[in-house]
């Protein structure tokens, strides 16, 4: 097994009564990029957390470079040469890049020395970073580079990346994948967790598909056609996505922005002199890279951020699905009834009528096919897809004139994402105006009638052209 740099055998893991991994094996050859493909909840991340010592397996063996290992913590894994960049970064925001990189290492601790080490490593690996910058001031892409350097500074030979392209704009995502390709020389290997087929095609030598905690398929990427991969991921063939027929909206304009300038909480101007309008019965897409102002734009049209100057006319009732549903839209430990009440809690006065609240919650559960044990189920007992359905259902339950949704399919598997997009299309057909922000341009092209692109504080309407939008996003057009 000398060419098997990472060798996982018959790994099993339960969380309570849920079987997360049911005897999964994975062999990663040195010199290869190995994609781990699967839907949400397939067990990809759990398997890799086990390989990195963050989670302990109930059963199974972990081999690195021909030796069986027993990992009690990430420290043991790093010592063995296995490093992982998790999907949600684990950096210390208030510390500098250099401090974050050397955290937990045995490197000599002197500011000048660690600065030089980080600069040299950045140079050698082709991952540019400023060692003196505070992490909280960096873009998502730069934070990701810091995370990778953190692992490489310890000479990791097996690099595990969990959904690395999900947080990046398309151009940077491609750059990262080509970096991965170059990184993967003779004595190294990369495990790429993803649910994007194009990532697999772009860079992976081998692919393993997980579904429901089982290994469904494994082999060389070029041997396996797309249909087979998708079939293995989903279990049953997926219905083709219905192409939206773009039509001229007939409704009156319900949102008008004239010369709108927005500032964030720190007083920094994020959107400058924006002009646009939205009519009833159309779906508007918003695309933009991290820090381009799309976040503030979304909050402003949702009525959550007052313009600093200019005029922004909003309809009376606006539904809002924020990007971070767990923190900004739901109280995880409370039940569905109480979370439903949150919707217009600020406008209501007087006593609560629990019976009618319970009935409304029940009707939402059945109308939107939300998998929950009932209106009294706590939100954190629902899966991510069902939480998203619930938030959507709640926000459209009083038929608002406008629905604003930030990254509505983020973290959802193919099926759940398709459901959400179809629902948004239906609302449009019923005469609602919908504004969607997404990191996935293809998703916007599929769903939206018009697309607004933000770049460095400017808002521009763009033709539905993938290449053009991508270029405006990064400032190349």
């Amino acid at each position: 097994m000398s060419d098997r740099l990472l060798d996982l055998r018959n790994v099993q893991k339960r969380f309570g009564s849920v079987v997360a991994l049911d005897g999964v094996s994975l062999q990663v050859a040195s010199g290869s990029v190995h994609a781990l493909l699967g839907e949400n909840g397939a067990g990809k991340t759990t398997l890799m957390r086990i390989a990195y010592g963050l989670t302990r397996p109930d059963l199974g063996r972990i081999g690195v470079g021909g030796t069986w290992r027993h990992f009690r913590s990430p420290m043991d894994a790093l010592d063995a040469g296995v490093g992982m960049v998790q999907q949600h970064f684990s950096l210390v925001p208030s510390m500098t890049v250099a401090e974050n990189v050397v955290l937990g290492t045995r490197l000599p601790f002197r500011p000048t020395v660690i600065r030089r080490i980080v600069l040299e490593l950045a140079e050698k690996t082709g991952l540019p970073v400023d060692p003196d910058a505070r992490v909280e001031t960096l873009s998502i892409g730069a934070q990701q580079r810091v995370e990778i350097l953190k692992v490489l500074v310890r000479d990791a030979r097996v690099l595990i990346l969990d959904e690395p392209t999900a947080v990046l704009p398309p151009q940077q995502g491609r750059e990262l994948l080509s970096w991965v390709r170059n990184f993967c020389t003779e004595d190294r290997a990369v495990v790429l967790i993803t649910h994007k087929l194009e990532d697999v095609r772009a860079v992976a030598d081998a692919v393993t598909v997980l579904r429901g905690g089982r290994c469904i398929l494994t082999g060389k990427t070029y041997d396996i056609p797309d249909d087979t991969l998708v079939g293995a991921m989903l279990g049953a063939p997926l219905e083709p996505v219905e192409r939206v027929v773009r039509h001229a909206p007939s409704g009156p304009p319900i949102l008008q922005a004239k010369d709108v300038t927005l500032r964030d909480a720190r007083g920094i101007v994020r959107i400058r002199n924006a002009d646009f309008s939205v009519r009833a019965g159309e779906v508007i897409g918003v695309a933009g890279v991290e820090g381009s102002g799309h976040r503030e734009l979304l909050r402003a049209v949702a009525g959550r951020l007052k313009p600093f100057s200019g005029s922004l006319v909003l309809p009376q009732r606006v539904g809002y699905v924020p990007e971070d549903r767990q923190n900004d839209a739901l109280l995880a430990s409370l039940d569905l009834r109480q979370n439903l009440l949150l919707h217009d809690a600020a406008r209501r006065r007087g006593f609560l009528r629990w019976k009618s609240v319970e009935r409304s919650a029940e009707s939402l559960i059945s109308a939107f096919d939300i998998h929950a044990s009932g209106p009294r189920a706590a939100v954190d007992t629902l899966s991510g897809g069902n939480q998203q359905r619930f938030v959507l259902a709640r926000e459209i339950s009083d038929r608002p004139d406008l629905l604003v949704a930030a990254n509505p399919t983020r973290g959802l598997d193919v099926r759940a994402a398709q459901y959400v997009l179809e629902l948004l299309g239906k609302l449009r057909d019923d005469g609602m105006a919908v504004i969607i922000q997404s990191n996935d341009i293809d998703e916007l092209l599929e769903t939206c009638d018009r697309i607004l692109v933000t770049h460095a504080g400017r808002v521009r309407e763009a033709r539905p052209d993938r290449d053009l939008i991508g270029r405006i996003m990064v400032g190349a057009a």
């Binding site: 989670t55 990430p74 420290m75 998790q86 684990s90 950096l91 210390v92 208030s94 050397v102 937990g104």
Partner: protein, 307 residues
């Protein structure tokens, strides 16, 4: 005038010493993300431990007894708040109230129901050669009991540890993001237990200082809120050891000023000077780079999925 100034400075340093010890302990603990409201409890336990130790075997045993008692109390806090992950604020308050009651009870059991004033050996000032003969400052700063010198040396040592060592980096990172430390291969639970123990040790020394170099006996509730003042001192010192030492001296100074004005019988009520440092702490907390100085994960619980 010169003697008055010297007396004022000496009084400032004397009052500031126990506060500085406790505040440095609290500050180190908060840097690791733990807010130890049990500090008041560790001080009173330290005072009692020092009284018992000193009565049994002199001042050295007194200091050891104080430190040990503080350590034990903070370990109780640590076991609950960090190991068993109970709420830090509630646990700290419970530990403080428990220690205040327990020391009163033990005092009566050990030294009789009348609570007869103990006569125990105290720490004599230890003038440092040469330094203590500097005019005005010499006798104020360099003719003090040994615990004062410990407090003064401790501040730069803590700074050096936090900002110039690898372990210090992990310590600070634990206060900012325990999850990042865990992912980098560190052990945040161990760091926090260690930080809590250190705060107990220093809180115990603060109590020992009250008994051995100030009052000369034990009295119920003699910690007199210093553990809570320490939390304000840490904020005023912006979570930095040298800032904490300076803030302790400021609190000490306003107490000393209060004695002075009490004696001079001026129009200004002396309580104003007692209130001054608290008002400054509030101003510091609400101004400037808000939220940047306080550790981000302060008071939070640790996610521990490794089981």
């Amino acid at each position: 005038m010169e003697t008055l100034l010297t007396a004022f400075l000496a009084s400032t340093v004397r009052t500031a010493t126990p506060l500085a010890l406790a505040s440095l302990g609290e500050g180190m603990c908060e840097r690791a993300g733990v807010i130890n409201l049990g500090m008041e409890g560790t001080i009173i336990a330290g005072a009692f431990g020092a009284a018992v130790g000193a009565a049994a075997g002199g001042t050295v045993l007194g200091i050891a007894g104080g430190a040990l008692a503080g350590l034990v109390v903070s370990c109780v806090f640590g076991i609950f708040a960090i190991w068993l992950r109970t709420d830090q604020i509630i646990t700290g308050t419970a530990v403080t109230l428990g220690a205040l009651g327990l020391t009163s009870a033990l005092y009566r059991v050990t030294f009789g129901t009348q609570g007869v004033a103990l006569s125990i050996p105290t720490l004599a000032p230890l003038p440092l050669p040469l330094l203590s003969s500097i005019p005005v400052l010499g006798s104020a700063f360099f003719s003090q009991p040994v615990l004062t010198y410990i407090a003064f040396v401790l501040a730069p040592v803590c700074s050096w540890f936090l900002f110039r060592t690898r372990t210090g980096l992990i310590w600070r990172a634990t206060g900012e993001s325990p999850e990042a430390v865990r992912s980098a291969g560190g052990r945040p639970v161990q760091v926090q237990l260690l930080a809590t123990s250190l705060s107990g040790l220093l809180g115990g020394l603060a109590g020992a200082c009250l008994v051995l170099s100030q009052v000369g006996t034990f009295a119920d509730g003699m910690s007199a809120g210093r553990g809570f003042i320490a939390i304000a001192v840490v904020a005023l010192g912006r979570w930095h050891p040298s800032g904490i030492l300076a803030a302790s001296l400021l609190f000490g100074g306003s107490s000393a000023l209060q004695y002075l004005f009490q004696a001079a019988a001026t129009a200004i009520p002396y309580q104003v000077f007692l209130a001054l440092p608290y008002m400054m702490a509030l101003v510091v907390l609400t101004s400037g780079r808000r939220g940047h100085a306080a550790p981000a994960a302060l008071g939070g619980k640790l996610e521990n999925s490794l089981s």
